[in-house]
C-alpha cells in the first residue's frame, strides 16, 4: 500500500517539474523523426575523377555508365593522375579511375586491360565500398574479363538494403538508454542535493519499497516511450517488426529494468549531479560502443569480444534485430532473454543494497 503512495509521489514530482514531462514526450518524437535520416551509413555521392588516356568509344561508354550509377557523382575529367591526386588532397574528390591507353584496343582484341582505381581510404568504409562499386561497374563493362562465373547473391531479410530498417532497432535501444538511464541517475542524487532524502530516511518505508517506487515510474515511462517509437516507425517510415510484437516489448522492458537500476546505483554512489552525469555518461558510452550497435560485434578483437558476454546492450541489440528484422520467434532469442533477465535482477538487487538509509 505504501508502495502505491510512493509511486504516486514520484509521478507528482515528475509532473510538477517544468522540464521533464516535455522531455519525456518530445525526446522520442524528435529522435525518431530526425535520426533515421542522419544515420544513413550507406555510401552515396562518391565523387569520381576520370583520367582517360584512351579516348575511345569503349572508354567513353565506361565513363557514361559510371555517371549513370546512383552511387557516384562525376567530378569531371583530369589530364593526369597527379592533377587528380591534387584534387583528392584538397578534399574535392574521393576516387580516381585511370583508364589505360589501349583500353579500347585491348577489349577489341579480347585481352584484359588493366584499370587503376585509387581511393581515398582515410574513411575505410567509404574507400572500400566506393572502390568495390566502381570495380563492379568496370568489370561489367569489359565482356571478356569475366571468364570465371561469379556466384549469384541472395540477400535475406533486408532485401532493399534499407539502412533505416537496420537502424530503427538501434534507435529504440538509444532512446531507452537515455530515458530510463539518465533520468533515474539524476533522481536520488537530486533528492540528496535538495535535502528531501532526509525526510524519506526517517520514515518506516523499507529499502525495497523505496527503490521499487523509484523504478516503477521509469518502467511505465519506458512502456510509453517504446509505444511512441514503434508507432512513429510505422507511421513515418512504414517499418513494422517482422517478429511478434510482444517479444519486442519484453526485450525493451528487460533493458529498461537494467538501465533504471544502473542509473539508481550511480545515483546512490554520487554526491553531486555533475558527478553522477559524468560517471553515467562514461559507462553508457562504453556499453554502447562495445555492444555492436553501430559496428559489427564480431569484427572486434577477442579480448573486446569477451566483454560482450556481460554487456546487456549486446544481448538486447542482437535479440531485437533478430526479432525486428529477421522475424525470429521466442526460441531463437531465448538465451538473450535469459541473460537480460539475470543481469536485470542482479542490478536491481544491487540498487536496493547500495541505498543506505543512514548517512
Amino acid at each position: 500500500m505504501t508502495l502505491k503512495f510512493l509511486v504516486q509521489k514520484e509521478f507528482l514530482q515528475i509532473r510538477r517539474n517544468s522540464f521533464l514531462p516535455r522531455l519525456i514526450v518530445m525526446f522520442p518524437i524528435v529522435i525518431m523523426c530526425v535520426m533515421p535520416w542522419v544515420q544513413q551509413m550507406d555510401v552515396k555521392n562518391v565523387v569520381v575523377l576520370v583520367v582517360d588516356n584512351d579516348h575511345s568509344t569503349s572508354s567513353q561508354r565506361l565513363v557514361r555508365s559510371i555517371e549513370a550509377s546512383r552511387y557516384f557523382i562525376s567530378g569531371g575529367q583530369k589530364p593526369t593522375y597527379q592533377s587528380a591526386l591534387a584534387d583528392i588532397e584538397r578534399g574535392k574528390a574521393d576516387v580516381v579511375l585511370v583508364i589505360p591507353q589501349d583500353f579500347g584496343k585491348n577489349i577489341a582484341k579480347g585481352e584484359a586491360p588493366q584499370v587503376l582505381i585509387a581511393a581515398n581510404a582515410v574513411n575505410g568504409t567509404k574507400g572500400s565500398m566506393g572502390s568495390a562499386y566502381l570495380s563492379q561497374i568496370v568489370s561489367r563493362s569489359v565482356p571478356y574479363a569475366t571468364v570465371l562465373q561469379q556466384p549469384s547473391v541472395l540477400t535475406l531479410y533486408n532485401k532493399h538494403q534499407n539502412y533505416k530498417l537496420y537502424m530503427i532497432p538501434a534507435l529504440l535501444a538509444i532512446v531507452m538508454m537515455l530515458m530510463t538511464g539518465f533520468l533515474p541517475t539524476l533522481n536520488i542524487v537530486g533528492e540528496k542535493e535538495t535535502g528531501t532524502i532526509e525526510q524519506i530516511n526517517v520514515t518506516p518505508v523499507s529499502k525495497w519499497a523505496f527503490i521499487l517506487s523509484k523504478l516503477i515510474p521509469y518502467w511505465l515511462i519506458a512502456l510509453f516511450v517504446i509505444t511512441v517509437c514503434l508507432l512513429l516507425a510505422w507511421l513515418i517510415y512504414g517499418i513494422t517488426p517482422a517478429g511478434p510484437l510482444w517479444l519486442v516489448y519484453l526485450l525493451a522492458m528487460l533493458l529498461a529494468v537494467f538501465f533504471s537500476s544502473f542509473g539508481l546505483i550511480v545515483s546512490n554512489y554520487s554526491d553531486t549531479m555533475q558527478q553522477a552525469v559524468f560517471v553515467m555518461w562514461f559507462f553508457v558510452v562504453c556499453i554502447m560502443l562495445l555492444s555492436g550497435l553501430f559496428t559489427p560485434a564480431r569484427s572486434m578483437p577477442d579480448w573486446a569480444y569477451l566483454t560482450t558476454y556481460v554487456n546487456p546492450m549486446h544481448y538486447f541489440i542482437d535479440a531485437i534485430r533478430t526479432v525486428f528484422i529477421r522475424g525470429g520467434q521466442f526460441r531463437e532469442v531465448a538465451h538473450q532473454v535469459c541473460a537480460l533477465l539475470a543481469i536485470g535482477i542482479l542490478m536491481a538487487s544491487w540498487a536496493v543494497r547500495s541505498y543506505k538509509k543512514n548517512s
Binding site: E89, A119, T146
Partner: protein, 347 residues
C-alpha cells in the same frame, strides 16, 4: 598580475579536488582511444559461413578451402539444404551461406540485416572464390592501405573530447559559481570581471592541451596512426579550435542560470550535433539536403576535416586554408558575442 595568477590557482584547485570528475576527464580519452583504436572496427573478419552441398566434389572442395583459408571467413557447418542454412542465419548462428547446386552454379545467401556489411561480405566472398585471377582492376587504397578504422576515428575523437572539455566543463564551472552564490564574491573583488572569466578558462585551456598531447601520443605510439603533416600546424589549428570551444562555453554560461540547464544545453546543443552531424560516424554526404545545411554550421566538422587532412593525408597547410578560415571566423564571431553578452552585474 599577481591577483590573476592567484585566481588561476584557485580554479586549478577546484578542478583537482573533484577526484571523480578528474578521473573521468583523464580516463575518458584513454578509454575512448583504446576502444576506438582496437575494439571498434568495421573490418570484415570471422564471418561465420555455412556450406550447403549435397555431394562434395573437387570443385566445391577447392572453393570451400579457399574460403576457409582466408582470414575473413570461418566455415562453421556443412548442411544439405538451403532451408537449414536459412534457419541457422535467422537464429544468428551464421552470417552467410554458400550454396553449391547440382549444376555447379554457386549462390551466396547472406544475412542482409546490416546492408553495408552484407555488401562487403559478398564482395569479399566473390573475390575469394574467384581468386582474383580474372581481375582487371588494380585497387590502390591511398593514405590508409591497411584500411584501419582508427585513421578515421582519431581526428573525430579529438574534435569531440576537446569540445566536451572546453565548452561543457567551462560553462558548468562558471554557472556553478552563479548557482552557489560565490560569483557575487568574485565580482566584488578588486580583480576586473573579465579577468575573472579568463582566469577560469586558463586551467581548462591547459587541461585541453594536456588531453590533446595525450591523444596525439597514444595515436602515434599505441595505435600506429601516422602523423604525416607538420606537428606545428596540427597544434596551431587545434589551438584555434580550443579557443572556439572555450568561447562557446563562455556563451553557454552567460545564457544558463543553473547547472542542469548548462549541462543539458551543452549536451544537446554542442555534443549531440558533434557526434551526429560532424561526419564522425555517419557520412554527411548521405544525409538529406536540409541536414547537410545544418551540418555546415557545426564548427567541429571543419576541425575534424582539417585534422584528417593534416594528420593522415599529410597535406600542407595550403590545402586546409578553407577549413582554417571558417574555424577562425567562427571563433571570432563566438568570442565577440560571448564578450558582448558577458554581464558584469548579476541580475
Amino acid at each position: 598580475m599577481k591577483q590573476f595568477i592567484s585566481f588561476v590557482i584557485k580554479e586549478t584547485r577546484h578542478i583537482l579536488r573533484d577526484r571523480r570528475t578528474m578521473l573521468i576527464l583523464f580516463g575518458m580519452p584513454v578509454v575512448m582511444m583504446t576502444i576506438f583504436g582496437f575494439a571498434i572496427t568495421t573490418d570484415v573478419k570471422n564471418v561465420r559461413t555455412v556450406v550447403v552441398t549435397s555431394q562434395i566434389d573437387h570443385l566445391t572442395q577447392a572453393a570451400v578451402e579457399r574460403l576457409a583459408q582466408s582470414e575473413y571467413f570461418t566455415i562453421t557447418k556443412t548442411v544439405s539444404t538451403p532451408q537449414e542454412a536459412e534457419r541457422l542465419i535467422r537464429s544468428q548462428k551464421a552470417d552467410m551461406a554458400v550454396v553449391f547446386a547440382k549444376n555447379h552454379s554457386m549462390q551466396l545467401i547472406v544475412d542482409g540485416a546490416d546492408p553495408n556489411m552484407a555488401q562487403q561480405w559478398t564482395s569479399y566472398a566473390q573475390q575469394t572464390i574467384v581468386n582474383g585471377k580474372s581481375s582487371i582492376v588494380n585497387l590502390k587504397m591511398l593514405y590508409n592501405p591497411q584500411m584501419k578504422s582508427s585513421y578515421n576515428f582519431v581526428p573525430a575523437i579529438m574534435g569531440m573530447l576537446l569540445m566536451l572539455i572546453c565548452a561543457m566543463m567551462t560553462s558548468i564551472s562558471i554557472v556553478r559559481e552563479k548557482e552557489r552564490g560565490t560569483m557575487e564574491v568574485l565580482l566584488v573583488s578588486p580583480v576586473r570581471p573579465l579577468l575573472v572569466i579568463i582566469a577560469k578558462a586558463v586551467p581548462y585551456l591547459a587541461l585541453a592541451f594536456g588531453i590533446l598531447i595525450t591523444i596525439l601520443l597514444m595515436a602515434r605510439f599505441l595505435l600506429g596512426v601516422p602523423l604525416q603533416g607538420s606537428v606545428v600546424w596540427i597544434l596551431t589549428v587545434s589551438t584555434l579550435y580550443i579557443i572556439l570551444a572555450l568561447s562557446l562555453g563562455l556563451l553557454v554560461s552567460s545564457v544558463a542560470q543553473t547547472q542542469l540547464v548548462a549541462l543539458l544545453l551543452s549536451a544537446m546543443v554542442l555534443l549531440m550535433p558533434v557526434i551526429m552531424l560532424s561526419g564522425m560516424i555517419f557520412p554527411v554526404e548521405s544525409m538529406p539536403t536540409v541536414l547537410q545545411w545544418i551540418a555546415a554550421v557545426v564548427p567541429p566538422r571543419y576541425y575534424i576535416d582539417a585534422m584528417r587532412k593534416l594528420m593522415i593525408m599529410g597535406v600542407g597547410i595550403g590545402e586546409v586554408m578553407k577549413e582554417v578560415a571558417i574555424l577562425a571566423s567562427f571563433a571570432t564571431f563566438f568570442l565577440i558575442v560571448a564578450l558582448k553578452k558577458f554581464n558584469v552585474r548579476l541580475e
